[in-house]
Symmetry: C2
């Protein structure tokens, strides 16, 4: 922005924002990866769990509140070739309150999982409310279906141009530390293209949710 007319508006804005900016500067980085992480800290209450019968909505809820998950891929490592391999990856489906349901990742070819995906992009991601304070507070065992968890199978691919900005914004808002990761690791944005969804949120076994039902969920 240039020009005198905008100059005074800018000064006003700066004056209004100054206290917040100063607070951000002087406060120590807290929470996972720094301030403004947008993740549900142990001290902050989670939004309420949707009705358990609404499995698609529960699935979207879990995807949104989790900021990491475990990804299963087929191993290309000589030691365990062809076996199922599991690893932990950070993720985000959108900025806080604006989840898309699409799990985005920030990956490097140096990661074991990525080496596996390059040979076979099929993968399964699992996320659990045990990762938040929900289950602990409610007294639900991590393996209890009441401690809801979801399983998303599909393929992991690089994010294309049109989705790049949203993926970047989604990840960096919730994982600010990513902005500092070394470029020598050749980081790239990826996503899980979901083909199968299982929701374990109540007794009676896994509920199958279709990708259509999953993406049709809207949050107010």
């Amino acid at each position: 922005m240039a020009g005198r007319a905008r100059g005074s508006a800018r000064a006003l804005l700066a004056a209004l924002l100054a206290p917040a900016l100063v607070a951000l500067l002087v406060a120590p980085a807290r929470g996972r990866g720094g301030r403004g992480h947008g993740d549900w800290d142990a001290a902050v209450a989670l939004p309420p769990l949707p009705p358990r019968e609404d499995a698609a909505r529960v699935a979207r809820f879990v995807t949104h509140v989790c900021d990491w998950g475990a990804l299963a891929t087929l191993s290309t490592d000589q030691a365990v070739r062809g076996w199922a391999f599991a690893d932990v990856l950070s993720l985000s489906d959108g900025p806080p309150g604006a989840g898309s349901g699409v799990p985005y990742f920030y990956l490097s070819p140096l990661q074991q999982s990525v080496g596996n995906l390059q040979e076979n992009p099929h993968a399964t991601l699992t996320m659990s409310l045990a990762q938040t304070n929900f289950c602990r507070k409610q007294g639900f065992d991590p393996q209890s279906p009441l401690c809801a968890h979801i399983i998303l199978s599909g393929t992991v691919t690089k994010v294309n141009e049109s989705e790049m900005d949203f993926a970047k914004q989604s990840l960096f808002v919730r994982h600010p530390e990513m902005k500092t990761w070394p470029s020598s690791h050749n980081w790239f944005f990826a996503k899980l293209n979901i083909t199968n969804i299982w929701v374990l949120d109540y007794f009676g076994g896994p509920k199958i949710v279709t990708p259509e039902e999953y993406y049709n969920v809207t949050f107010q």
Copy 2:
């Protein structure tokens, strides 16, 4: 214990323990799955992380402080047959302060993962300090190696007679809710027989730890 001589010793012991016993009786069940869970609640500080160079010790540490993990198995589900499948399972490697390094599970043939294991027992378990408050408190992103996580590959098998008591004690102390799970689910004790261990606790890529190094670790 019977007999008058022991009677007075017992009375003394009871008098000393009484306040603690009363406290246990009247306090509400808290934490995951009830009292005496032995798990590291968000309010309780974790023991300190071992030196990161001691990868075997870090691996044992992570296995011990985690009470669940994500297990990757090869899927037998028609929809995704042959793909890598991921699921969440509760686990315990021993009562608090007495970890063995062996991840024990309490499984039911009704679980998807168990159906998979029955066809192919090879599996990979991953556990992360992101499951505790460690990474959050230190400001480490879940995907940062500083937020240590481990990957254990091997085979999952039923626990044999000689190990049954320890497996049961290990699991039930940390997952008391398991004692209430319905017998109609045919629960059984299982373990991961570890063949390969990778530790990501520092920059520079995964460190390989042998099962021998892993089991040779002793904690004071």
